[in-house]
Amino acid sequence: MKPNKLDELRDILFRPDHEKLEALRARVEHAEARAADVAEVLPDSVAASFERDSRLVGALRKPLRECISESVREDPEEFADALFPIMGPAIRRSVAEAFKAWIQQANQAIEQSLSPRGLSWRFQAWRAGIPFGQYVLQRTLLYRVEHIYLIQASSGLLIGHVQQGDLHSKDEDAVSAMFTAIQEFVKDSFSGDEPQRLRTAELGELTLWAVHGPGAVLVALIRGVPPAGLRTDLQVVLERIETRFDHEVRNFAGERAELPDLEPELRSCLRTSLREPEIRRTKQRFSPALAVLGVLAVGVIAWAGYGIWMQSRVARIAEAFEATAGIVVTRIDRAGRSLVIRGLRDPMAPTPEEIAAAEGWFGPVDASFEAYLSLDRELVLARARAVLEPPDTVSMSLDAGTLHLAGAAQPLWISAIGTAAASVAGVERIDVSGLHADSDGLLAAVRTLLEPPAEVGLALRDGVLEVSGTAPKPWLDRVLATTLPNGVDSVDHSSLEFAEMFALRGIEREANAAVLIFDSGSSSLAGAQGVTVEEIVESLVEYGALAEELGLVPSLTITGHSDASGTFDLNVALERNRAETVASAFQDAGVEPAWIATRSHLDSGVAGARMPGVTLQLEARSSVERPVQD
């Protein structure tokens, strides 16, 4: 056969198989096609392998572990964030289990203990009808969560804030930002590589607790001693908030109104725990037996009293009439249902019906009196009161025909009193030395006398002249040397500020904010200054005069600063020179050298900015507290 014939034959015989073979080779050789193939069967293979035995698990274990630890190493932050919502509850649950077991143990130990306190607490708990463990908790815990702040971790913006209803707070946005700033500061200043977070702070009675999540910080301000479990509760609330409002918290841009559902979550943290509330309730328990006894006792007493009252009724009424000033009784008895009385009566005296009614007689009264003027003291006083109509602030007394008047009244009333009193029967003389103008009138008189400056407020309270506001010291000296009118017993100037002091503080504030600028590296003052040496000297001279007026001694500390370039030693020298430059400029311009001290900012270790400048610290002390110099 010819070779081409043979080829032809082979072609006929094997062609279909050859084509298949070609296709197969293509599939094996092309990685992409192979991947697609495997992908198609992979899920089923994995499932089948799992069904059959555990070899697959064994094979995957190592690479998977590698994989996870690799990615944790690379970006722990992201990993932690992802795990946070799951891990929080999981860890808590296991801690809670451990805790429960521990509490049970402790509970048993205490229950079995026979210490007096253990027994007494047991008894109390039994009386209160609450579990012993709970009672122990109540005895030891007393706290109140006063404020809750939810703060965006990145910016310090306040996402939400709630507080106990009866509290007022500073601007909560500022508090939130300041918390974040301080936390940032602590983080930067005291921690190493590991980021530290501010978790708790004690501020006297208050405790601050912060729990941190990936996007937000929940801060609780607590009065008293919070239980450890509260931190867990805060953590739970924060986790729930971060899950529910994940997007809103992360992308919060200062618009609080967009998060109304947040408030109930935050409110749930405002807990109050009071000591022994249950016990107090049981003490007030109502006792029916006691109530029945009480009713019986009242009944017996009322019955006995009624009898006695019936018998002595008329006798007591007669006595009452006889005891009443301005009434002379000639006859009194009972006729049927009415009371019959005869006698003399001053018009100022109470009516017979009034006297009888005061003694419990509400039946008819048959009274007939002749008019007369009594000289009884009460009656004369009553007559004087009716004629003179004194204000409530005036008291009157009668002593051997002399009417004494004392207290505060309108000046006009006081001037008319003499003539009016002459027409009162029973008053022979009148004594007005105890009278003074009322506070309005008195205040007007004091005002004319003292001529207070416009910034001064005057008030009269119980004879004390209260002086407030601002005034020059010489004015107060004059006030204290003045004899004040009747009715002013003393002067209270504790809330009066001296104008000199006010001006003094103003100069202090200004001087302590001033920065004198130097050229970098140089110890001569720069050309342009916000505040010039001359301006400062002018205020210092004024300060000196004011301080003297107030009996204070000024002190001025001049601190030299330097910027970050140069060595420590060179900078300290430079700072000293700068402070000295300013000190001598001040002295040349007439500032008292004894006030002045200079120092280097770096050397003295005080806080302050690194800058080529000089700052001042001006204050005034009373000469007594002046530090002893050696």
Binding site: A174, F185, A253, R256
Partner: protein, 170 residues
């Protein structure tokens, strides 16, 4: 009401603290500035689109921001750049500070205040310097913390850009 964090930055003694003091409700003592390095004040600003409560962080920085000062800027909706018209160098450091911030946090709304205008007789700022600023995208608003001139206007301008930026992004 929207609240927004704002930082005020600039070289030493340009008048940052004075500017804030002139404008805000004082919340915390100045002592925080020396101890913690930052002081916070708030101010409600009424602008045409509503009210914005600015929470102003006064960072005790100088011509370069330290890491912590840069950290304080985190989450800011904008910033106030201050320079001292009597000292040309402070304009340069302001531009540098702005570049630092942009490198770290991207472009943010800001306002630039050229302070101590009450001393304008002694100003050393020349047209070329202002031209440099302009090419860096900074238009200076002249003002004086001493007299108060221009301060409120500058801060209202910032509040408006912050509010606009927030509306755009939502």
């Amino acid at each position: 009401m929207r609240s927004a964090k704002v930082c005020i930055i600039g070289d030493f003694a340009v008048g940052k603290t004075s500017t804030v003091a002139r404008f805000v409700n004082n919340e915390f003592s100045e002592k925080y500035l020396t101890t913690v390095g930052v002081k916070i004040d708030t101010k409600q600003v009424d602008i045409p689109s509503g009210s914005v409560k600015l929470i102003i962080w006064d960072v005790a920085g100088t011509d370069r921001l330290s890491d912590i000062e840069l950290a304080y800027l985190r989450g800011s909706a904008g910033f106030i750049l201050v320079a001292d018209g009597t000292r040309t160098a402070t304009v340069e450091s302001a531009l540098r500070l702005k570049a630092d911030i942009v490198a770290q946090y991207g472009e943010l709304p800001f306002v630039a205040m050229l302070n101590k205008f009450d001393l304008s007789d002694e100003w050393q700022i020349h047209h070329d310097e202002l031209a440099v600023s302009r090419s860096a995208g900074v238009e200076w608003i002249t003002c004086s913390a001493k007299t108060g001139e221009g301060v409120a206007m500058a801060i209202e301008t910032l509040a408006t850009s912050i509010s606009d930026a927030a509306t755009e992004s939502t």
